[in-house]
Symmetry: C2
Subunit: 415 residues, 2 copies
């Protein structure tokens, strides 16, 4: 039995206690069991089943030689940073769901853990309960990973899914996501792409073993996506997803978060609702995909507890993730190559096709809409003034130069 403490008894923290209580038998099978000795929180929780474990001062926890693991579920990068450093300095392993802290200080905290013979693990910080961190640091260790392409934010995937299946516009779908509790009151971090950007920064850092700053990653959210954009994606047998992408080559790592047209031949196409998925391409295994719930109290808590199990199995040593503090400079993202779906005004279409070396023209017909959208929401006449095209495959640099020379552009989306 390994004694642990939970720091922060909010949604994920209480989930950690619940997972440990409910799945005690399974946890015992893997590591001999986990026992929650302390729960650190400023608040009181009268009537809570773990009421007797609540404490308000961290110092006695660090000083308790029985405590081997702390589950840090406080969130934020100020107090949590300080508390984590003190725990690791005391030789206590820390497991966390705190993606902000991991993105900012994960490399440093991993080094501190190693110096003190304990571990800093953060499976829950990316993709909730889906084992993505382990896949990169422990499973695909004989692979050269070329590309990671993921749906890493459930809120935006839900919004796009509801726009598509319900014929809702962005604002209505966002409101629905807020009502369902999937989106925050201030939804900026999700819809503008900050959240998936942090997550791809963590994954790319672990692939390279260096520290990538998420502020360096170009980022574009989904608030500009309309039903009309989706209609053209349908004409391509595709849909629009918010994709966090990172490519790795000899000249470095590139990363970008943006909406993309994803077609049916891509396994990410089928990832609906609030589900997350990450498609990894590597040189020996080719494509592999990892799919599941990327958020939610219990899925996230389960990943934190899974890390605690691993710490318990590795008591007295460090589970390494191969993450150094050396800064990873992002290679020039304008070199990323892809096709682009471009909507243009009808009278400018011929010229646009020429400039962008269009490979394909897209039409939205009544039949296409009839199979996809509730009656009355959008009809083909709404597209009478415009057309869309699929450009040739070209770098962002080349495309941006060309699109600046193109008149009548309504909107464009990467493919």
């Amino acid at each position: 039995m390994t004694e642990i403490a939970i720091f922060g008894y909010g949604t994920v923290g209480s989930g950690v206690a619940e997972v440990i209580g409910q799945n005690a038998a399974q946890i015992a099978q893997r590591c001999g069991g986990l026992h929650v000795k302390y729960i650190l929180d400023l608040r009181e929780f009268p009537g809570d089943p773990y009421e007797d474990r609540i404490v308000h001062d961290a110092a006695p926890i660090y000083a308790d030689p029985e405590i081997k693991v702390i589950c840090e579920t406080m969130g934020g990068a100020t107090f949590a940073y300080d508390y984590t450093k003190r725990a690791l300095s005391a030789g206590i392993s820390v497991c966390t769901s705190n993606k902000e802290l991991v993105e900012l200080h994960g490399a440093e905290l991993s080094r501190m853990a190693k110096e003190h013979g304990c571990s800093y693990l953060f499976e829950a910080s990316v993709g909730g309960g889906i084992p993505l961190i382990r896949t990169i640091t422990q499973a695909l260790t004989a692979e050269r990973i070329d590309c990671i392409c993921g749906i890493l934010n459930g809120t935006t995937n839900y919004i796009l899914h509801r726009m598509e299946t319900g014929g809702l516009d962005f604002e209505t779908a966002l409101k629905e996501a807020q009502d369902m509790g999937y989106a925050e009151k201030d939804p900026t971090a999700d819809i503008e792409g900050h959240d998936p950007c942090r997550k791809i920064a963590i994954l790319a850092s672990l692939v390279c073993g260096k520290k990538l700053d998420y502020n360096d990653i170009p980022m574009e959210g989904i608030s500009s996506i309309t039903l009309k954009d989706l209609a053209y994606a349908w004409a391509l047998d595709g849909t629009v997803k918010l994709i966090a992408k990172s490519e790795f080559s000899e000249d470095g790592c590139r990363a970008i978060v943006s909406p993309r047209v994803v077609t049916q031949d891509n396994p990410l196409y089928s990832v609906k609702d609030v589900f997350n998925a990450v498609l990894i391409h590597s040189n020996m295994l080719d494509d592999s995909m990892y799919y599941g719930r990327g958020a939610g109290k219990l899925a996230t808590a389960s990943a934190v507890v899974g890390d605690a199990v691993e710490c318990a199995q590795n008591a007295g040593r460090t589970v390494e993730c191969g993450w150094s503090e050396e800064k990873l400079a992002l290679a020039d993202c304008d070199e990323l190559k892809q096709k682009y779906l471009v909507r243009v005004k009808r009278d400018a279409a011929a010229k646009a096709k020429e400039i962008l070396s269009a490979e394909r023209e897209l039409l939205v017909t009544e039949e296409l809409l009839a199979g996809k959208i509730p009656a009355g929401v959008l009809d083909a006449s709404a597209f009478s003034d415009e057309e869309a095209l699929v450009s040739a495959c070209m770098t962002e640099r080349e495309f941006k130069k060309k699109i600046a020379q193109t008149d009548g552009v309504i909107h464009w989306i990467r493919m």
Copy 2:
């Protein structure tokens, strides 16, 4: 740098050498590097880049204190069993792709590894390069797994995929798979379900921590599946897949391998071609899915090398998979519950619907076939003498009793 030996220089064994050579930088990042010191094979390989490492006698390898890991890629359960025991007895970790040996003796070999302070790892034995074993034994350790449902055989998935997309009958699709090198000359192990049965036996054993005998698992292959069966699956917005399934509940573990109708709302629906995927349902995480190439020289070799990296990281200790030799008796598989797609002769249909409490009737129309199948292969007139129905959800026991009382049954498939 960790010194290793490869036992068996066939397809996978030469892949192991290739992966170690090509991805040396990535491997060094994770474990300081692997070096192939010996390759054990009865044959000579003149001109091979590793010609100088070939040896014909295993004894000096066991006696070499530098050797920490052996990659066993011999296959079979006789010589490989003996060689593995001798290696583990010498305190040398063994990593393998040998599913036959793992299914038969994995629990015993895991115990031997633990007794000698080394590891026995077998990620490559199930799902090729997809990290499935690790997911169960190391990632989802805080979960109570309720159900594993997988496409674990690439050959049969390819055959069904080609029947569906090419309008081929089973024999033609099998011949094509053989010509492509996806199916063996004697394809029995694949098409009759022995191969996925071994694999689900391994996964279910690791969930329960006990030893399941694959001979206990009811097994049905795909040789009886016809284009007509597929047509009814299409009428349900589904397709037919060979599914290895295991359910875990308080009264035990049940497992079965059989063709099933898989509908579009199931993430396994989109798993085409030779790809494998496993859908795991667990009580905290809900559904998660793991997808990739389940076979192939390099994908399989990469998983073996990934295990070798883990052995190198854990030199002098045992990476445990929690597998005891205690026999796991399978719970009664006649208690498994599902719906069934049943094809019956038209004149017996009314009575069949009554007996099987049909929830739905299925019709094959020209429109349905036109969207799915090359012209001229199969038309709706071929279905003039028959109908199909979807039964109520019931146990296998109940269904088998009822179907025995039903006249005019042409074929039935689980859903």
